[in-house]
């Protein structure tokens, strides 16, 4: 039996040793906001936070997570970045968007007022095939400059 701490709640599940965190979130816990687009660590769609750090859940074995707090997009639904993304039109097909927002939220946690260069550096691991990047950059930049730093932290 495995215990996971996700978005402030505790979950118990049985999982084979080879189960990845992404599979566990999506298939065992029903948290399908986390997407799998490549399944091998090359695109960032599966990004979640572990203790506030963005990681790739598709190549993280769920049994190695331990007591670390997992934050998925479901835990960031009321984060100001969601509105910032929608208002800036930083969402096209939307398949990469949850991962983008998790990475952006992690960036703002570490750096509440990132520069454009810092945004580009921190979001470079989240591919968007629709090419929404200018709007994503704008959404994060605006989201960061408008919200007070404290309000932009994940609510946990």
């Amino acid at each position: 039996m495995l215990e996971l701490q996700v978005n402030g709640g505790f979950y118990r599940l049985e999982a084979p040793d080879e189960r990845t965190l992404a599979e566990a979130l999506r298939d065992d816990l029903g948290l399908t906001g986390t997407k799998i687009a490549c399944g091998e660590g090359h695109c960032g769609a599966c990004t979640v936070m572990l203790d506030g750090t963005p990681v790739l859940s598709c190549i993280t074995l769920v049994h190695t997570v331990g007591p670390r707090e997992i934050t998925t997009i479901e835990g960031l639904r009321d984060h100001p970045l969601v509105d910032a993304f929608v208002e800036a039109d930083a969402v096209q097909c939307g398949f990469c968007t949850p991962g983008q927002i998790v990475s952006a939220a992690a960036l703002m946690r570490a750096n509440p007022q990132p520069s454009r260069e810092e945004i580009r550096h921190a979001l470079a691991g989240n591919l968007c095939r629709c090419g929404t990047y200018p709007k994503i950059e704008k959404a994060i930049y605006r989201g960061a400059s408008q919200g007070s730093p404290a309000s932009l932290l994940p609510q946990s």
Binding site: E18, R26, D27, L31, T32, G33, T34, K35, I36, A37, C38, G39, E40, H42, C43, A45, T72, I73, E74, R77, V82, D83, F85, V86, E87, D89, A90, V91, Q92, C93, G94, F95, C96, T97, P98, I101, R116, I119, R120, H121, L123, A124, G125, N126, L127, C128, R129, C130, G131, T132, Y133, P134, K135, I136, E137
Partner: protein, 753 residues
């Protein structure tokens, strides 16, 4: 009153005439410019669902008892499966059904490319299904693959006949030209890589089939699946509420949907068939590579007198020949033109439509050729383009329904004039320059297409159509159009799409035809609903219909009275107003096209071959703009996808075995946010096409990807004097071109002959 009409439709360069049933299209177009809702920026109506991870994609569909399919694929580029034995696989843990060649459409014994599907099975878990693949015993008769497109042409291995176009006398015109430029241009094979891979979940309930599928064309899936399985079309329900991109590769059901349907029938349980990223990059379609051998003849003043092009399109095992010579035939006023296009049939994975198929490739060659003509004549490339502007379709003298390309050129001028300043900012090894290119693409609507608008007692409106939102913001544009016509605020309009039971036939989300086709249908449905609302209001308030209108959710009378819409709709209780609408015909005898210009500023590190795109100006003439915010995202997205095409993306095959080597996203390099130009300026002519439908809008999905590669390559020449004629412009290609340019010096300027 329904009318049967004949109309022309032109989807991605394929022209067909068809009969359409049109309910009515008597609406005058709205005046040009921003209206109350249409023409003003709107955030996506479904943006929050997507951003919050609530939107349910096909990838998120989990049905009770659902099995997972896996597909056996050919490890050879060309081979025939002489024996396929499923026994061992069927006995494996969790496996519930297995099928071989001929059991489902798409599964074939003859494997014409690496990764061709041969057999499939379904198991309780994905891991069990993948593990059982190893247990399918296949004996292969391996054949010698044909991988070289020129050799395929020489051997006559073609899809269809070579397509020829001839007008005037090219040889005579070239003999009299002041300057003749000949060059060979190449484009690479590109992979769509929508982030949601191709996938479907199929579930049978009795003789009814429900298909959840990531598709650009719900109706085509419905019809093809029904026809292939031999069941009535109305027995198939197709659902695609949200989809994670398509870019042209999801226009039909694909083998994965049919495999899932057949396996589901055999197993008596729902089956999911989802391609992995690697399968996606092997077998889900590609933009075909081209070899273009082009010649241009011009007079000293830049007037084009002759164009000739031979286009070899490496289509692969399957596919269709996109109009690659179209831009050469249609973009410039040139009397003598000769083109031939070959569709090489190779043992490589099949092509599929990819965002402006053919024209992306054709404009690459043509717009580089034009700059080479300008350079030889020492003329301004923009001037040469304006000089050769076509006032009517140069192919058949048909008038354009609307063409504002000259205005695009004029608007591009100040950005083009930045080049002295840009060049002067060259610094050490970094050379800077500016380039431009023109785009041309189809713009007509693709009727038929139908929509309804329903008004309920709550005073809210629901638009229903059986279309899908590929991610371009279709729901939002349709909501804006309905709101405008109804006189409702945007938030009072709900748009239901993504389900074949939600309306009549709806067009493909492809060929840039969504807004141009569905927009008019939604508008006429909204107009019908508004008419009925006013009829009822007139009875309710005892006034003439003629003095009533709907504005901002209120019924307003010419004499000053004003009532909230609910006061009328409340009377309805469970009765509803249903407005019906359809897309009307395209204008007869006219060419409906879109145009645009991109101006790119680049910096090239001449020691390392690094190319950075620093600024792009884009102006497009696509008729009325419904949502300027969403439209700018389309343009930016096209530019960025095009930058990937230009600088980093290429599918590579092992030259001896035909194996796809770039299956993973570390090897196939999509652009990242760090590859985005720091500045993209996006403008629209935003003038409704007066001849086109009740809306005057053309599509915008494809145009912005067309001119970006040649604009960048022309800027590279401006910056460095080096000719890049082959995509992608990787470090090695850039360094090669720079070396070639150095060796050519000091013969840098050439005189007109």
């Amino acid at each position: 009153m329904p009318r049967l009409l004949k109309t022309e439709r032109e989807v991605e360069g394929r022209v067909e005439e068809s009969w359409i049933l049109v309910e009515e299209d008597a609406l005058d177009q709205w005046p040009a410019g921003p209206l109350v809702t249409v023409g003003r920026p709107a955030a996506r109506v479904d943006g929050r669902e997507r951003a919050r991870g609530e939107a349910r994609y096909t990838a998120d569909v989990r049905l009770p008892g659902m099995l997972h399919a896996a597909v056996v694929r050919s490890p050879h580029a060309y081979a025939v499966a002489t024996r396929v034995d499923l026994e061992r696989a069927l006995a494996a843990p969790g496996v519930r059904a297995a099928i071989g060649p001929g059991d489902a459409p798409g599964l074939a014994a003859e494997a014409g490319h690496f990764g061709a599907p041969v057999a499939a099975l379904a198991a309780d878990t994905e891991a069990q299904a993948r593990a059982a693949l190893e247990l399918v015993d296949v004996e292969w008769d391996v054949r010698e693959p044909l991988l070289d497109p020129d050799e395929a042409v020489a051997r006559g291995e073609l899809h269809g006949k070579p397509r020829r176009h001839e007008r005037g006398d090219v040889d005579a015109a070239l003999a009299e030209a002041d300057v003749v430029v000949e060059a060979e241009y190449r484009t690479q094979t590109l992979l769509h890589n929508a982030l949601e891979t191709h996938q479907a979940v199929c579930e049978w309930e009795g003789d009814r089939l429900t298909v959840y599928v990531s598709t650009q064309y719900i109706w085509e899936v419905r019809d093809q699946v029904a026809d292939e399985l031999g069941i009535p079309r109305d027995k198939v329900l197709v659902i695609c509420r949200f989809m994670g991109g398509g870019f042209g590769a999801k226009n039909d059901p694909g083998d994965y949907t049919l495999v899932a349907a057949v396996l589901a029938r055999r197993a008596g349980r729902p089956v999911r068939c989802a391609l992995t990223r690697r399968e996606e990059n092997i077998g889900a379609g590609n933009r075909n590579a081209t070899i273009q051998r082009l010649t241009a003849g011009a007079r000293a003043d830049g007037t084009l007198v002759a164009l000739r092009g031979e286009y070899v399109c490496a289509l692969g095992w399957d596919g269709w020949l996109p109009s690659t010579a179209g831009p050469m035939q249609m973009l410039y006023a040139c009397e003598n033109v000769e083109t031939v296009e070959y569709g090489a049939r190779l043992n490589t994975p099949p092509m599929a439509a990819f965002r402006a198929p053919g024209f992306v490739e054709g404009v690459w060659g043509l717009e580089l050729l034009l700059d080479e003509v300008a350079a030889k004549l020492e003329l301004d490339p923009l001037e040469v383009r304006m000089r050769n502007h076509a006032d009517a379709d140069p192919k058949d003298a048909r008038p354009f329904s609307a063409k504002n390309l000259m205005e695009c050129y004029r608007r591009a001028e100040p950005h083009w004039e930045r080049r002295d300043d840009v060049r002067s900012r060259s610094d050490g090894p970094w050379r800077r320059g500016v380039g431009l290119a023109t785009q041309i693409w189809f713009g007509s609507a693709a009727p038929p297409s139908y929509a309804t608008v329903r008004l309920e007692s709550s005073g809210r409106a629901t638009v229903g159509t059986a279309m899908q939102d590929i991610g371009t913001g279709t729901r939002t544009a349709m909501a804006q159009i309905a709101a405008e016509e109804l006189g409702f605020p945007l938030e009072r309009v709900e748009v239901l799409v993504g389900d074949s039971s939600r309306g009549g036939y709806a067009v493909v989300s492809g060929g840039s035809s969504t807004t141009s086709t569905m927009g008019p249908a939604v508008r006429s449905a909204a107009a019908d609903a508004r008419r009925q609302l006013i009829e009822i209001a007139a009875q309710r308030f005892g006034v003439e219909e003629g003095i009533l209108a709907v504005q901002d959710g209120k019924i307003v009378a010419a004499h000053g009275g004003s009532w909230p819409v609910e006061e009328v709709t409340r009377l309805l209780e469970h009765a509803q107003i249903v407005g019906k609408g359809a897309c009307g015909p395209n204008p007869t005898g006219m060419r409906v096209l879109t145009f645009g210009v991109h101006v790119a500023e680049v910096a090239v590190d001449v020691e390392t071959g690094e190319v950075r795109v620093e600024r792009v100006y884009a102006v497009h003439d696509v008729g009325r703009i419904v949502n300027p915010l969403g439209a700018s995202s389309q343009v930016e997205g096209g530019i960025i996808q095009g930058i990937g095409h230009t600088l980093s993306e290429q599918r590579l095959l092992d030259p001896s075995s035909g194996t796809v080597l770039t299956q993973t996203l570390d090897a196939y390099k999509l652009p990242t946010i760090a590859d985005t130009p720091p500045e993209i300026v996006c403008e629209f002519v935003d003038r409704p096409d007066a001849h086109l439908t009740n809306l005057g809008s053309k599509g915008l999905g494809e145009p912005p990807i067309i001119p970006i590669a040649p604009a960048i390559a022309n800027a590279i020449r401006d910056a460095t004097g080096a000719d890049v004629r082959s995509l992608p412009v990787t470090r090695e290609e850039m360094l090669r071109a720079l070396r070639e340019a150095r060796e050519r010096e000091p013969v840098h300027t050439s005189q007109p002959v």
